[in-house]
Amino acid sequence: MTDRPPRGNALSEGARQERRLGWLLCAPAVIVMLAVTAYPIGYAVYLSLQRYDLRFPGRAEFVGLDNYGAVLSSPFWWDAFWVTLFITGVSVAIELVLGMGLALVMHRTLFWRGTIRTAVLIPYGIVTVVAAFSWQYAWTPDLGYLAELLPEGDAPLTEQWPALWLIVLAEVWKTTPFMALLLLAGLALVPDETLKAAMVDGATAWQRFVRIMLPLMKPAILVALLFRTLDAFRIFDNIYILTAGAQDTGSVSILGYDNLFTALNLGIGSAISVLIFICVGIIAFTFVKLFGAAAPGAEVKR
């Protein structure tokens, strides 16, 4: 739509009304968006600039960036940050490989396609907290069937590295189907004729996968990676149930939760939340700028 209508006043009137109607139609959505996202984000930023501890309401004051200084100079933040990065990197990498495999299986299946797709999606359909509880019981000595397989006296959730790998396992088990689903949509982008033409030219299965399918699927892969990376970076529920962040297995979200709800320190806690928000923003920005990931459905420039 252009700003100036090319001809006549009557049409300009109509266009103006149309625009007004457009604004009216999207106003409710804009208001809701402002109320549920912009306001809380703005309020968190405001709180993060205050010394505001619920236990000392009399001591509330404006402290500028002090809270950010306290968080960024705290070893607890950096421990949590590296743990989060480790979980994000490792789990997303594993999910991509497994997800691709599952997507290929779902794409190629000739029989019981619906049944297989449903079966693959089951873990994704289970509530994360419920799944996390069943993992926790499974790994608890004397209670769980998986702990039975370990040597006597092993309690994997009470040591840092075994616990971190179990968290990654729970995360991968839970979200690989989501990855597979997004990649399956990408597979649909690959035209059969192209693959057949390559076959005629003598390309091996691996060559067809690397040279034809992957480049054509690139937008779908990037979207899947972006979604999963953002999600994984904010990991909370699996850790909260499995270890509650003990033995240095806490993610940045766990750290924020502990400072907000255990320490009741709204200033420090909000600063942590804002820092997480900034990290997530940086991840999204990097994906979009470096790899040109586009929103699903958007045209990819070639």
């Binding site: 010394r51 501890d53 619920l54 236990r55 000392f56 309401p57 001591r59 002090d66 306290a70 968080v71 705290s74 607890f76 933040w77 421990d79 309690a155 009470t158 962040g245 003990a246 806490g250 750290l255 502990d258 400072n259 709800f261 255990t262 320490a263 009741l264 320190n265 200033g267 420090i268 942590i272």
Partner: protein
């Protein structure tokens, strides 16, 4: 049209939520407390509702099982000024925090007099903040030394004696572990607090404005380290909480156990053979000439600042912890009472053969640091002293001092 219907439905639901729950004009007093399984608390609520002669009805609402979960639920609702909480069952370490935040009411006048009358002194301290009473002690608890008579004919009086005995038993290849709470959690802070107070010091100064620590803290940290490095240490010490201690003692691998009285009925039920030799003694001292000061536990009842029926809530709280209800809680729920007179009650003495030692321990007991920032102080202590075998007394105490300093000024990040 559909929107109108939806709105009407919504309004109906909201109106239902807003209902006071006043059945026939009788106000409901909502009591939030830890979940208790014997039914003693429910019984007390029913009795008091009955005794009020129709003036109020007490509903016992069960909080989550873990202490952190209990605190979080109450804190969130109080921060939102929820008026559906009336009586709050607070852990003994929370009164200062809730009082400073303005979430609970001060006890004054006649109510205060009734709350203090006949109540043990140390539990009252836990409910006091800046010289004002903010809660009434409900139940209390403290640790004793439990030991095996067949291995140790005379119980040790001091930590040094106990560790020597354990070493001797180890040389004789007999069960020799000293079972204590060494995991990184509140129990580790309790151990440190008991030792530092027994050594004549404290974690915070009297006005709770800065850390005190000093030589007694170094002494306490050294004892913890010495135990962890000696043959007396259970290999899983850095992961052990109260229940793991109990199980180790029942399994027969330990000679000593520092734990709460719940281990006694449990030993009776689970290992009748060992039970014959299961004995108790006062908590070991740090110095021979100074009594030990074991840390006190338990629950205090407070009245929410947002309660719609504060006067009735004060009255109901006093009823819930009256003599009859505390006796039921002690006999059926195993909760040691806070009323001095109950320790002379024959029914109680029969159920608690160790009542004399518990009472003596309670009278010389110590409280944990009283400050609104207690959670941070406790985390600073347990985080620094875990695992106990890696304590470096001087530098660990310096670290604790530094972290407590920050916590008291609301500056630090907690792990």
């Amino acid at each position: 049209m559909r929107a109108v219907v939806a709105l009407t439905l919504l309004a109906g639901t909201l109106a239902a939520c807003g209902d006071d729950g006043d059945s026939g004009g009788r106000p409901t007093i909502n009591w939030y407390n830890f979940p208790e399984d014997s039914g003693a608390l429910q019984k007390a609520a029913d009795r008091c509702s009955q005794a009020s002669g129709g003036r109020y009805r007490i509903v016992y609402n069960k909080l989550p099982r873990a202490a952190d979960g209990q605190r979080q639920q109450m804190v969130r609702r109080l921060a939102a000024e929820d008026d559906s909480l009336d009586i709050l069952g607070l852990d003994v370490t929370w009164a200062a925090e809730f009082a400073e935040a303005g979430w609970i009411r001060e006890w004054t006048g006649e109510m205060k007099r009734q709350a203090m009358e006949g109540t043990l002194r140390v539990p009252i301290q836990t409910a006091t903040w800046k010289g004002k009473l903010y809660a009434v002690p409900y139940n209390t608890n403290t640790q004793l030394l439990w030991y095996r008579k067949d291995l140790v004919p005379d119980p040790p009086k001091t930590w040094a004696e106990m560790l020597d005995k354990a070493r001797e038993l180890a040389r004789q290849r007999k069960p020799h572990y000293v079972e204590i709470q060494g995991a990184q959690y509140e129990g580790l802070t309790v151990w440190f607090n008991t030792l530092i107070n027994s050594a004549g010091g404290s974690i915070l100064n009297a006005s709770a404005t800065e850390p005190s620590l000093g030589a007694p803290a170094v002494r306490a940290a050294s004892i913890m380290r010495e135990l962890a490095k000696s043959p007396a240490a259970d290999p899983s010490l850095p992961n052990q909480m109260e229940d793991a201690n109990r199980l180790a003692m029942e399994a027969g691998v330990a000679a000593f156990q520092l734990n709460y009285p719940f281990v006694y009925p449990s030993m009776k039920a689970n290992n009748p053979q060992l039970f014959k030799n299961f004995a108790w003694a006062p908590y070991p001292r740090v110095d021979e000439d100074r009594p030990a000061r074991p840390t006190i536990g338990g629950i205090d009842l407070a009245v929410s600042a947002y309660s719609r029926h504060p006067d009735l809530a004060f009255e109901a709280a006093l009823c819930l912890r009256n003599r009859e209800n505390q006796l039921t809680a002690a006999l059926e729920g195993g909760l040691p009472p806070t009323l001095r007179a109950l320790y002379d009650e024959p029914a109680f003495q029969k159920e608690y053969p160790f009542h004399r030692e518990v009472l003596a321990a309670l009278q010389s007991a110590s409280v944990r640091p009283r400050t609104p920032a207690y959670q941070n102080v406790s985390i600073a202590v347990s985080h620094t002293l875990s695992p106990p075998s890696e304590i470096d007394p001087e530098s660990s105490v310096d670290t604790i001092r530094d972290q407590i300093d920050k916590a008291l000024r609301s500056e630090g990040v907690i792990p």
